[in-house]
């Protein structure tokens, strides 16, 4: 795979507030890349820099080896699917979808089959003459998608396009997005704050927080090997504990020592210890490493979510077996389920 878009040392501030800090990023041809992060972390700004709606204070945007930092939006070979409210209300569905081709002065007899092809792609054949305001939110987004894709862009930028839809519709649209991306074989750069959506759809995920790239990796990498406590917490609810890494494979937290599988830390380095709720086992007293009292127990559909308070902190635990509130239980954690993280480490730090 070849690198298609590259962001080099991008810095962007609004009103003296640094929104993006030293963003370095390579986007491969035809991949489904997701930028994931909490609201306000700078996701949209990255997309707008690629789309040409903002220009960086410093750094470059490279497309196919060419510097396009100063190129206006209408000259860039990318198209955007906006969050919402982007269909032209004075045009019907057909004219909306045909907009880009008419700008390019493509003859009408060529436009017609392409509009039909696009409406078929997004499963909205027969909607040509409908006014856009008569469409549901999901239909509007699919028309917006057809309108963008008819230009055969090399890259499609998607800014939380499913954010305004209800859960069921969002699920349907997710699989449709994935299908369309596969079918057309184009690069998708997808922005979301929904970790589940990111994990389901992406080839690669970029986790962003406060304008800094935390981690880049496949969904599995990011889920299993979060680089720091922020990523761990954002990707899934986790127990994040203060710990000390004494030497290789030896860590202490919650008032006792544990065996773990991590190495290469400074002696007695302060670390974050991340343990997923499903990795804390409730065991009989003999095997237990920690003891605590059940504070709450809620049925979540597939599992029970429990809070167990030990001498030092509360553990969030997922288990298929419910326990009585007030019951004393023993806890056990396998060494490979104890994830040790350098404090504040982000992507690229290990190269220093």
């Amino acid at each position: 795979m070849a690198t298609q878009i590259e962001l080099r040392d991008i810095v962007k501030s609004f009103d003296n507030h640094r929104v993006l800090d030293q963003i370095n990023l390579e986007i491969e041809e035809d991949e489904f890349l997701t930028i994931l992060g909490p609201s306000g972390c700078g996701k949209t700004t990255i997309l707008r820099l690629i789309g040409g709606f903002e220009s960086p204070d410093r750094g470059q945007v490279i497309f196919d080896g060419q510097d396009i930092t100063g190129l206006p939006a209408y000259k860039r070979p990318v198209n955007t699917l906006f969050q919402k409210y982007s269909l032209f209300p004075h045009l019907n569905v057909y004219d909306n979808v045909a907009f880009g081709l008419r700008i390019k002065k493509i003859p009408e007899n060529e436009i017609k089959p392409r509009v039909e092809e696009m409406l078929r792609l997004v499963n909205l054949r027969g909607f040509e003459n409908r006014g856009v305001e008569s469409l549901s939110g999901g239909q509007q987004q699919r028309i917006a998608m057809a309108r963008a894709l008819i230009n055969r862009p090399e890259v499609l930028l998607l800014d939380e396009p499913l954010g305004a839809l209800d859960l069921k519709l969002r699920k349907d649209m997710q699989s449709e997005l994935k299908r369309i991306q596969k079918e057309l074989g184009i690069t998708f750069i997808f922005v979301t704050h929904d970790q589940e959506e990111a994990l389901t759809l992406s080839d690669r995920i970029i986790v962003l927080n406060e304008g800094v790239i935390q981690q880049i990796g496949t969904p599995i990498d990011i889920y299993n090997e979060p680089i720091n406590s922020f990523v761990a917490d954002f990707i899934g609810e986790s127990n994040i504990l203060e710990g000390i890494m004494h030497r290789d494979y030896d860590v202490s937290f919650s008032g006792r020592n544990f065996v773990c599988v991590d190495e290469d830390f400074y002696p007695d380095e302060a670390v974050d210890v991340v343990i997923r709720p499903e990795d804390v086992e409730i065991v009989s007293n003999g095997k237990a490493q920690l003891h605590g009292q059940v504070v709450s127990c809620i049925f979540m559909g597939v599992h029970y979510e429990m809070l167990v308070s030990t001498d030092h902190e509360e553990y969030l635990i997922h288990s298929t077996v419910p326990r009585e509130i007030g019951e004393r239980v023993g806890l056990f954690i396998e060494p490979e389920n104890i994830h040790i993280m350098r404090k504040g480490e982000v992507e690229g730090d290990e190269d220093l």
Partner: protein
């Protein structure tokens, strides 16, 4: 009882507002010269009116000035509003304030100001100065009627157009203008009615025999009672009424569509 009083109150207010106009329209059909007595129905004043060269030329001037100044001030006002809309905060309030002053300012101040200004420039008083004045005082109204529409427009609309390859000029024509069209139309109609309606500014900034309807009516009224004025005023009232109806039509229609 209180309901009856409320009705009566409303009736009196509207009666007070419309009685003069009603009287005027009735007497424009009066056979005789005096306003004191009714001498029978006749269209004589209307017939005289359409043969009166002075009046016809004033009507022509009024329509000419109103048309040209409406076109020019609509263009200026729309571009101005588009220019103002991206501003935020203090600067925006300052610019808008400056736009509002001519609206709130007494006409007479504007009129005398323009007169002095033209004189200092050495501009001849006539059709040109009249048109320039009308452009000057109608532009702010166009800006004010277009701005809310621009504010309503999500920024993703012009961005989507440019994203699809439209240049800024194409975006303006194909997306922005169609979106703000209702605002442009009501701004233009407002400019047109204000221009036809204006007396004070026209009176001070015209010259050398270029009369508009209102300046002519004024000088005719000074010369003595001429019932042609009644007929002319009645026609003007009906025309303005029609324009008002047209102006309010699209709004009602779009409100119904929105429901």
């Amino acid at each position: 009882m209180s309901r009856f009083l409320k009705r009566l109150y409303l009736f009196l207010i509207y009666g007070f507002l419309y009685a003069p106009i009603l009287v005027l329209i009735i007497f424009s059909f009066n056979e005789g010269r005096t306003r004191g007595s009714w001498d029978g129905f006749s269209l004589v004043w209307y017939r005289r009116l359409v043969r009166d060269r002075e009046i016809l030329s004033a009507v022509y001037h009024s329509l000419l000035v109103a048309s040209i100044s409406t076109i020019v001030s609509t263009i200026i006002g729309v571009l101005g509003a588009i220019g103002i809309s991206p501003y935020r905060g203090k600067l925006k309030r300052a610019i808008l304030g400056m736009n509002q002053i001519p609206v709130l300012n007494p006409d007479i101040v504007m009129a005398v100001g323009l007169m002095v200004f033209y004189r200092s420039l050495g501009l001849d008083f006539g059709l040109l100065s009249l048109i320039l004045s009308h452009i000057a005082f109608t532009v702010p109204y166009v800006v004010l009627s277009v701005l809310p529409k621009l504010k309503q427009m999500p920024s993703s609309l012009p961005e989507a157009a440019m994203d699809l390859g439209a240049t800024p000029a194409q975006t303006l024509w194909k997306v922005v203008i169609p979106y703000i069209k209702p605002g442009i139309i009501s701004g233009a109609l407002m400019a047109f009615t204000l221009s036809i309606d204006d007396f004070v500014i026209s009176f001070f900034t015209t010259g050398s025999g270029v009369d508009t309807i209102s300046t002519l009516v004024y000088s005719m009224a000074r010369r003595g009672i001429n019932p042609e004025i009644n007929a002319l005023s009645a026609i003007m009232f009906v025309v303005v009424l029609l324009l008002l109806v047209i102006m309010n039509l699209p709004k009602e229609k779009s409100a119904q569509e929105g429901r």
